[in-house]
Amino acid sequence: MTAILVLPPVIALLALALLRWPAIQRRVSIGGGGLLALAAVNLAFGLEPGEIRVWVLGGWPAPLGIVWVADRLAAALVAVAAFVGAAALVAASAGHDEARQHPLWHPLAHLLLWAVCGAFLTGDLFNLFVWFEVMLMASFVLMALGGGRERLEGAVKYVAMNLISSVLFLCGCGILYGVCGTLNAADLARVIGARPEPAVLAGGGCLLAAFLLKSAAFPLFAWLPASYHTTTPATAALFSALLTKVGVYAVLRLTVTVMPIAETPLQPLLLWLSLATMVVGVLGAATQMELKRILAFHIISQVGYMLLGIALGSAPALAAAAFYLIHHIIVKSNLFLIAGLAAAQGGSDDVRRLGGLRQHPALYAGFIIAAGSLAGLPPLSGFFAKLATVRAASELAQWTAVVVALLVGFFTLYSMLKIHREVFAKDAPSSPAAASTGSGSALVAIVGLAAVTVGIGIAAGTLWRWALSVGAELAARTPYITAVLGGPR
């Protein structure tokens, strides 16, 4: 865990110092990203089943100071995030990516990754707020880099909406501290117990609104389709993989660990919101004709699946949500990288103006795997994620959720088919644009991520058993609380 906290700021500072030497900067940055990924993977695989590692920062034990807590879900998410981050860093040095041209991109990306890891690992509510802010500010700058009308307009909307979320988050923090007298997540969970009292519920409601906005849940998602598509491919890969997922993770921690919503009116509300999120996102995507816009709407719909798992709240449902998170981070970032490369090859983001890219074997294979997985085609990772969610919903006899989840899968297939048909299968409408050179590094990232997607499918059984134990651990709550408050091991 130390490396995850200590390494990224150093890499970012080094990258800042190397602004004038972009080639060296890229190497240092990619190397640093690789080290971070190694450290994160090491952490994730180093945890024994049921182990929750607590790290007391600065020697102030919980609940006095800040602790970082790596249970197996957090560690796995950090590992996946760091891996995707490394892939995006590699892809960012591709010739077609605008990110390559901007020397500030690498330091910002490292700080963003750092904040994402911090948000996954922290066991303190206000510390989470701080990481959210670091993440936001880094994303603000990344989004606005380079300027341009569309990008600035999207950035203003993105920034304004997310600042509202920050305000809500801060208010929620203050209220929970006022009522419960503590900020440590485990301590809050202990004080709140299984049935939150009304004042806690009010504060938790503020937090939930803040997190749902960050997760792009219905009806708080409008900032996402207005802004994500304006970013460069590598930036979009980072954002799509990580930002909303940190929001989903925060919703999970809040509604499961800190403040169980099972017996509150928030539970059915969250359930219906998740269904609406799925439907609205997927229908929006079906109407779009530009690659990145289609994908942006699909983020929303997929977030709905994860929120559904969280709202259902049973151990298998939480396991499904955990599975979905991991699968989705990989697939979504890959699709954005693919879309970026495809748009660069064809000279347009509009699927109707593209075509013939099946002649590009690595890109084509990457797309088939990533898109098939997103659409839930077996035996890829998305199939298992969807199956797990549907089965968890049917176990609880939530038939509306089952039907909606399946139908949303249909429209996901519809969108992916549209992209496949227009961009890959049909012949290019005009003479193909000169293939942009130097996109090899993007292909490396795409193939690497696709390999992980296939790997998740192959190791689905192992991963699911892992997810089941994670779900049981989450649903039980007490392991987390005793691990943190019982002192560090």
Binding site: T2, V6, L13, L57, G58, G59, W60, L64, I66, A115, V130, E133, V134, V141, A144, A160, I164, S165, C171, G174, I175, G178, V179, G181, T182, V191, P196, P198, A199, L201, A202, G203, G204, C206, A209, A222, W223, P265, L266, L283, G284, A286, T287, P361, G372, P378, P379, F384, L387, V390, R391, S394, W399, L406, F410, R421, K426, A460, G461, W464
Partner: protein, 891 residues
């Protein structure tokens, strides 16, 4: 291990093709044929064991969520598996000749092999999820194969086919999930044992309907049959394989597998009987008006599938045996006729029935194959079609099923006549066409003839080879044993006479093709296809409506929804609070502060000029500072004052370039809505603030003053919290500052260094020389005492920054730069580096990052605070400087 070979042989062959992607078409065909042959051989070799104890294989994979690799080679599965292998072998050879010279052949063959493997999973899979995987893979492979030509209509048809079957796949998934939920079984072969439990369960109808929908889409049953004729855009051998012999049988195959569990229930009979009958009708309606031979075959396939569904709806072993036999016979004769049509297309360039005739002379071998296929399809003895048809007659059918089966028999005769006989023996409609026609070579002839002869063999050898296997399969499917004797010739004169009568009627009808077409055109046509299109369009329209409503583009709407959502979500808790309001005494001096705040807020909200608005915001900020200082928070007040001043400066600098707050007209309704949202948010915020005080738990912070002194070596608890207890928060906070500074510098396009803001005055210039060192000294003092008294690195940094800004104002940006010794961004970054260093010292000395380490009065928290100082200096100077640049370049 043979059972694994059935599945793995095509997979390995496909992998071989993928590796050798650049191999020629001939090698690719050889590899593909080899894969199919091995698969077929393994399946055939397993046949004897299927009659005794089915071989099984289980490799753990994704249980309990998804499938284990569980295979089971029972009779029914092996029948399909053999079919897939044998027909696959014929098809690959045929395709090598037929598609000679077409692009991307290795990729086509690889896809074909993956398809074959997926079919084998459906045939042999014993785990429902494994079967489902095969199911979906066949749909995807079908999609890729249909669009292979990349013609626009092929793209469209492939998409429709995959969407329909994909929707069905999801329905099937839902059905399987429910069945699994009810019964808890993990193997399909265990399903019959759970029959009673399943049928008694209230969710059973939902499960059954979902499964039947899934199977109906795959097997092109009404109302999902429309995708199949469209899929004929595929190359003909592909159509023969996927859309006649194998893939479309998957639905029937799976339904038959489920017959022991669901068969005999009213819902089962109604669903399958009804859908089957409607399918037969829909297909019969289209047959006479279809000119394209391939389309004709497609519709006849739909007809056959409907017939199979009707048979499945019946109970009893006789009906099941009829299903098995008809499925086999249909695969053989329909495959043959497809290949014949392919050969006609290849030899003449057309597939249109009215243009064809008299081809027997030019294409004798094809004509022979066509005749054999047609004979089987008509049900002439001793062909497979005859055996199947006789068994169909033995099934115990009600009047509806019987009449459907009769209609189907007539229609099959007619189609056989049109496809297998007429093009060759009818008078040539276009003599030149008939004369120029030619045979397509061995690669086309051999597989066609082989399939045709296979149909004959099934019939002739049926009694000895096929019969026991089919009987075993039928017994498994029906749950009761059946006699294995199959006739290869009619046993009585009456039987023979009735059979020939049907054939004669069929041929007579076939000769009245145009008239039939005219009559039938009175019936509705293509309803389900249109319904499908409408449904998709409706979904898209709904999507557009959603985008209209949610992405209207007006940020105010987004923000309003966000704020209201916050109010609503917090409202659930607020509504339940039992309010008791013991109002504490309000000191008199609170009132002016409150008035200042309210006045500032109102001023900002209602201002018509930029400066008034900024003044209002500033008044709020300073008012809050007064509140802080009067509520025991001097550090906060100090910081608030300095930050507010700086904020106001930045606002003034930036706002000068934005247009004046012109008068704007808001709609009355909009104003009212805004007011409601504002009041609701404000009320919720007040309620939240009050609700927070209902807590009875002692606050953690109350323990921190003592802890700060004892362990943190600081009397100022707030400062100790910031630089020690919660130093990580501060670390993040200064990172945010650094990021904001980077952002500002990236956004505000860099120009020249700012000119002096004020007129050069020697006094000011001289003063500024003095002020910077003084400010620095003062800052260091603030930093040092911050640990015990109000102060700290943040405020100290702002002090130095103020000095630098003054230098810049008095002597220009270059002088300020010189005074700073380094670019402000570098200073800010080094501040972060210092803070990191303080943390790293803790890591080395204390074992954790940011662990405080003290040497007398010097400790890492002080170093950390120094980092804050330096960073704040850099950030503030950078921001102000950029805003000044903005001023120069902005207008």
């Amino acid at each position: 291990m043979l059972i694994a070979a059935i599945v793995l042989a095509p997979v390995l062959a496909a992998a071989l093709l993928a590796v050798a992607a650049r191999s020629g078409a001939r090698i690719a065909a050889l590899v593909a044929a080899g894969g199919c042959a091995l698969s077929a051989g393994a399946a055939l070799a397993l046949l004897p064991s299927a009659l005794l104890v089915p071989e099984t294989l289980t490799v753990p994979w994704a249980a309990p969520l998804g499938p284990d690799l569980a295979l089971r080679a029972d009779a029914w599965g092996l029948i399909l598996a053999s079919l897939v292998g044998i027909v696959g072998l014929c098809i690959t050879i045929y395709a090598a000749g037929y598609l000679h010279g077409a692009p991307d052949l290795p990729r086509l063959f690889a896809t074909l092999l993956v398809f074959a493997a997926a079919m084998q999973l459906i045939a042999l899979g014993d785990d429902p999820w494994l079967v489902f995987i095969g199911w979906e893979l066949t749909s995807v492979c079908s999609y890729l194969l249909v669009l292979h030509t990349r013609r626009p209509e092929a793209l469209r048809a492939a998409t429709t086919a995959l969407l329909v079957t994909g929707l069905g796949g999801l329905s099937l998934l839902g059905g399987l999930v429910i069945v699994q939920q009810i019964t808890g079984i993990e193997r399909l072969s265990e399903l019959p044992t759970a029959r009673d439990h399943l049928l008694a369960h209230p969710w059973m109808p939902a499960a059954l309907i979902a499964i039947v929908i899934g199977c109906a889409t795959k097997s092109a049953l009404f109302p999902f049959h429309f995708w199949l004729p469209g899929a004929m855009a595929a190359p003909t051998p592909i159509s023969a394989y996927l859309h006649a012999a194998t893939m479309v049988k998957a639905g029937i195959f799976l339904l038959a597998r489920l017959h022991p569990a669901f068969g005999g229930t009213a819902l089962w009979e109604a669903l399958l009987g009804g859908l089957g009958a409607l399918t037969v009708l829909a297909a019969a309606r289209r047959l006479p008006s279809t000119d394209d031979l391939k389309q004709l075959l497609a519709w006849s396939t739909v007809l056959a599938l409907g017939t199979l569904a009707v048979l499945l709806s019946l109970d009893g072993a006789a009906a099941m045996l009829a299903v098995v036999l008809l499925l086999l016979a249909h695969a053989a004769y329909k495959g043959t006729l497809f290949l014949v049509v392919g050969a006609i297309d290849h030899g003449t360039g057309t597939r249109l029935l009215p243009r064809l005739g008299g081809l027997a002379r030019a294409m004798p071998w094809t004509a022979a194959s066509g005749m054999l296929g047609a004979a089987s399809m008509m049900g002439l003895p001793p062909f497979a079609g005859f055996v199947a048809k006789e068994q169909v007659k033995l099934a115990e059918a009600g009047w509806l099923a019987s009449s459907t089966l009769f209609l189907s028999a007539l229609a099959l005769v007619a189609v056989a006549w049109w496809v297998g006989i007429r093009p060759f023996w009818h008078r040539a409609a276009e003599p030149p066409l008939a004369e120029q026609a030619h045979e397509g070579g061995l690669a086309l002839l051999v597989p066609t003839l082989a399939l045709a002869i296979l149909g004959l063999l099934f019939g002739v050898a049926g009694a000895w080879i096929v019969a026991p296997l089919a009987a075993r399969a039928a017994a498994d499917l029906a749950g009761s044993a059946i006699d294995a004797g199959l006739p290869i010739l009619p046993s009585t004169a009456l039987q023979a006479a009735s059979g020939f009568a049907v054939i004669a009627c069929g041929i007579l009808l076939a000769e009245q093709r145009e008239r039939l077409a005219r009559w039938l055109s009175l019936l509705p046509n293509g309803l389900s296809a249109r319904l499908w299109d409408h449904a998709l369009h409706a979904a898209l329209a709904a999507g557009r409506a959603v985008v209209h409503v949610t992405q209207h583009g007006d940020l105010r709407g987004y923000l309003g929804v966000a704020l209201l959502s916050g109010v609503a979500l917090a409202g659930f808790g607020l509504a339940d609070i039992a309010w008791t309001l013991p109002v504490s005494q309000i000191p008199l001096w609170m009132w002016p502060i409150a008035v200042l705040l309210v006045a500032g807020a109102l001023m900002a909200a209602a201002a018509r000029t930029r400066l008034a608005a900024i003044a209002g915001l500033g008044a709020v900020g300073y008012g809050i500072a007064l509140l802080f200082v009067s509520h025991g928070a001097p550090d906060l007040a100090f910081t608030q004052v300095v930050v507010e001043t700086l904020t106001v400066v930045l606002f003034v600098l930036a706002f000068r370039h934005l247009p004046e707050l012109r008068a704007y007209a808001l709609l009355e309704r909009r104003r009212a809505v805004n007011a409601v949202i504002a009041v609701a948010s404000g009320a919720a915020a007040t309620a939240l603030a009050l609700a927070a005080e209902t807590g009875t738990v002692p606050h953690l912070g109350d323990r921190l003053i003592a802890a700060a002194w004892e362990r943190g070596h600081g009397a100022n608890a707030v400062n100790v919290i910031l630089v020690d207890i919660r130093a990580l928060d501060t670390f993040g906070e200064i990172t945010v500052l650094l990021l904001a500074a980077i952002g500002v510098s990236a956004l505000v396009t860099a120009g020249s260094a700012p000119r002096p803001l004020l007129a050069r005055s020697p006094i000011l210039s001289a003063a500024s020389r003095l002020i910077l060192p003084l400010a620095t000294l003062f800052a260091l003092w603030l930093w040092w005492r911050g640990h015990h008294q109000p102060g700290g690195g943040f405020i100290a940094g702002l002090c130095v920054a103020a000095g630098v800004v003054l230098v810049a104002a008095a002597r220009g940006g270059i002088a300020a730069r010189r005074a700073l010794l380094a670019p402000p961004l570098a200073i800010a970054a080094s501040g972060l580096a210092l803070a990191w260093l303080a943390g790293a010292v803790g890591l080395i000395a204390g074992g954790s990052f940011l662990f405080p380490h003290w040497l007398g009065p010097f400790g890492t928290p002080l170093l950390f605070d120094l980092g804050v100082l330096v960073l704040v200096l850099g950030v503030v100077v950078l921001t102000v400087e950029q805003m000044l640049i903005a001023e120069e370049g902005g207008t």
